[in-house]
């Protein structure tokens, strides 16, 4: 127990409500899972295991599938079909269709009007709700914590466990309050908050913890902004990040396909309002950052912890006291072909990618479009805009955002993970520099030999127009 008396944190309330069997010295806790999201890449071996053992899926009615990772985002053909050129990917998608069909799991297939990135469609459909336990064979499942759910990524063996039993063996994590005080300035976004947090604590700083993001800046964020923050909890080592549900949360959920309605809505609301952390509850650890001191952030290295304010200079390995960290920084700068002390502002780039489960929602696309409208993407830049779901794509098109991007010379694509993970053919070429709104700048993440600067949609869009790394505060949104 970490808390005083009966006062509990948001995390503890959700954990307690889902404990089928308590943790002991000999066995982890057994946790009940309300919602299991599955996709084509991390599920096939789990379904094979079910078949080998003659098992069924315990709760197909609490499971949902979508295709996202290996799907092409290239345009539809004259029949309205998105062709899959890669034979291995095509087979993986076929196997997924077969598995979901055989085991009775509802699934959004490639080309479906509701298909999209798993962490975009969960909230979009109202499947993600406060107080739930949500898992998926994907580390960015932390996204759903924005609703006050306990949501985390699992491996394929665990996907099998949840399919077969709707439960998971888990050792109870510790809790860390991440306070973000003050208000963001213009041009600074949710993405900059999370990049600043990870730069502060390091890529392993949250290992073993569940984060609860708190404070005025978090309360002021939209649900999409909160999702961006929670999404990258894993990049700080935390498997889950949570935000207490409030009126912003309830307003977002209300009216969505799977949201409760009528008397059920009132009952749900009463339960959800009891979820926020009690006065006097303790966290195992607490950190604070000031939102009003933040400026746009950008990464310079090969993990998301290697980030800095966009106006800063690349740090020098010689200034790093820890030997292992010195070596790591040196290796990162060699890969990125950057010199200590160099500024990234003004550096020529080759690609801008706007997309991924971090920043591909409608508000992200609107922000980017504001900069792009009436302007041209620089000649040296390939700009890709990949909506997070077919619904986001349709919404953007109804607002004319696709026309804005296309008129500027950007590529407007079908929905999917795309160049964030680069397993569908959307990738950087060796040596290319990208400003990307995605979540990982690991070596080769966006294509072998490719070099990634992680940043917000504002920074990405401004950089696409200028052709160089650009501080969005220095470029006014288009007045057209």
């Amino acid at each position: 127990m970490t808390s005083n008396g009966n006062a509990r944190t948001l995390f503890e309330k959700v954990w307690d409500a889902h404990t089928v069997r308590e943790q002991t010295d000999d066995t982890p806790a057994v946790l009940y899972i309300d919602l299991h999201l599955v996709h084509e890449v991390t599920s096939p071996q789990a379904f094979s295991m079910l078949r080998e053992r003659g098992l069924s899926v315990r709760r197909p009615d609490q499971t949902i599938g979508t295709m996202d990772h290996s799907t092409p985002t290239t345009p539809r053909n004259e029949l309205g079909i998105i062709p899959v050129a890669d034979a291995l990917a095509a087979k993986q998608l076929d196997v997924f269709t077969q598995n979901c069909g055989d085991f009775g799991i509802p699934m959004y297939a490639l080309g479906d009007a509701h298909q999209g990135i798993v962490h975009v469609i969960g909230p979009e459909k109202g499947l993600t709700q406060p107080g739930m336990t949500i898992v998926c064979g994907d580390s960015h499942t932390s996204t759903h914590g924005a609703f006050g759910a306990l949501a985390f990524g699992i491996g394929t063996s665990e996907v099998g466990h949840v399919l077969a039993t709707q439960t998971l063996l888990q050792n109870k994590p510790q809790t860390m309050a991440v306070n973000v005080e003050g208000r963001l300035s213009d041009g600074v976004t949710a993405k900059d908050i999370i990049l600043a947090i990870i730069a502060k604590i390091g890529i392993g700083g949250g290992t073993g913890y569940v984060f609860e993001y708190r404070g005025e800046a978090i309360r002021s964020l939209s649900m999409e902004g909160r999702m961006t923050v929670c999404n990258m909890s894993i990049e700080g080592g935390a498997r889950a990040g949570m935000v207490a549900p409030d009126d912003t949360t309830f307003e977002y959920i209300s009216g969505r396909k799977h949201a409760p309605s009528g008397a059920d809505w009132d009952a749900a609301l009463a339960k959800w309002r009891a979820l926020p952390t009690d006065e006097g509850a303790d966290y195992d650890k607490e950190i604070t950052i000031r939102a009003d001191e933040l400026i746009p952030m950008i990464t310079y290295g090969t993990n998301p912890g290697m980030g800095m304010p966009i106006t800063a200079s690349v740090p020098a390995p010689a200034d790093e006291p820890d030997y292992n960290r010195k070596i790591a920084l040196d290796k990162a700068l060699t890969y990125m072909d950057l010199a200590p002390g160099q500024k990234l502002l003004g550096m020529a780039i080759d690609v801008v990618f706007i997309g991924s489960c971090t920043n591909s929602r409608i508000s992200d696309l609107r922000q980017a479009a504001e900069f792009v409208k009436g302007r041209k993407v620089a000649d040296n830049v390939r700009m890709m805009v990949v909506p997070g779901s077919q619904q986001v794509k349709q919404q953007a098109e109804s607002e004319g955002l696709d026309a804005v991007f296309k008129a500027a010379g950007a590529e407007w694509r079908e929905a999917g993970c795309s160049m964030c993970i680069a397993m569908n053919g959307d990738q950087l070429l060796p040596g290319q520099y990208a400003v990307s709104t995605s979540n990982r700048n690991f070596e080769g993440r966006q294509g072998k030999g490719g070099r990634t600067f992680l940043a917000s949609p504002l920074t990405a869009a401004a950089s696409a127009i200028a052709g160089v790394v650009t501080d969005p505060r220095e470029m006014a949104a288009s007045s057209l």
Partner: protein
Amino acid sequence: MEKLEHVHGSIVAIPVNDIDTDQIIPARFLKVTDKEGLGKAAFCDWRYLEDGETPNPEFILNNPAYQDAAVLVAGDNFGCGSSREHAPWALLGAGFKAVVSTDFADIFRNNALKNGLLPIVVDADTQQQLFSLADEEPSTTVSVDVEAQTLTLPDGRAVSFPLDGFSKYCLLNGVDQLGYLLALDSEVADFEARNPQRIVTNA
């Protein structure tokens, strides 16, 4: 899963911090629908030159002296990033039985233990000693006793490492964790009876 009681083998070191699962196995190899043959893809982008086929002579795993290594010694925070279980599958496929670091990312550690790949957490001094030993003498061997939770160095020093009781039981007996959960069927049914279903995905 096969029983894992002891590991006795030579070591190889990759003294790099924060080795993420994209380095252990790049995403383009995740289009498989089984677990076979992933050993070839382990550390692929470090192991091969730009053509993807020619071994990079600079990379330690291509050094003939380390071909039989069973224990990988790595920098801090090994296995961060993606949840892909293909990472332990690839390491096992490449012949590793254990990985030594000062700490492991949570999901990687869980995935490794479920496949009989032992994550061994040691202090920074032991890590540095192993880096030096691996560098100076490629035939350096270590012994791991899962029951005793010890890693024994060539000088006879036995270093203890943490291992939760349940994972240890599963490793020593070669059983996977699903059997335990399946046996709780009636408890899960009771839980479901007490707690209304929160979401119906096929409604």
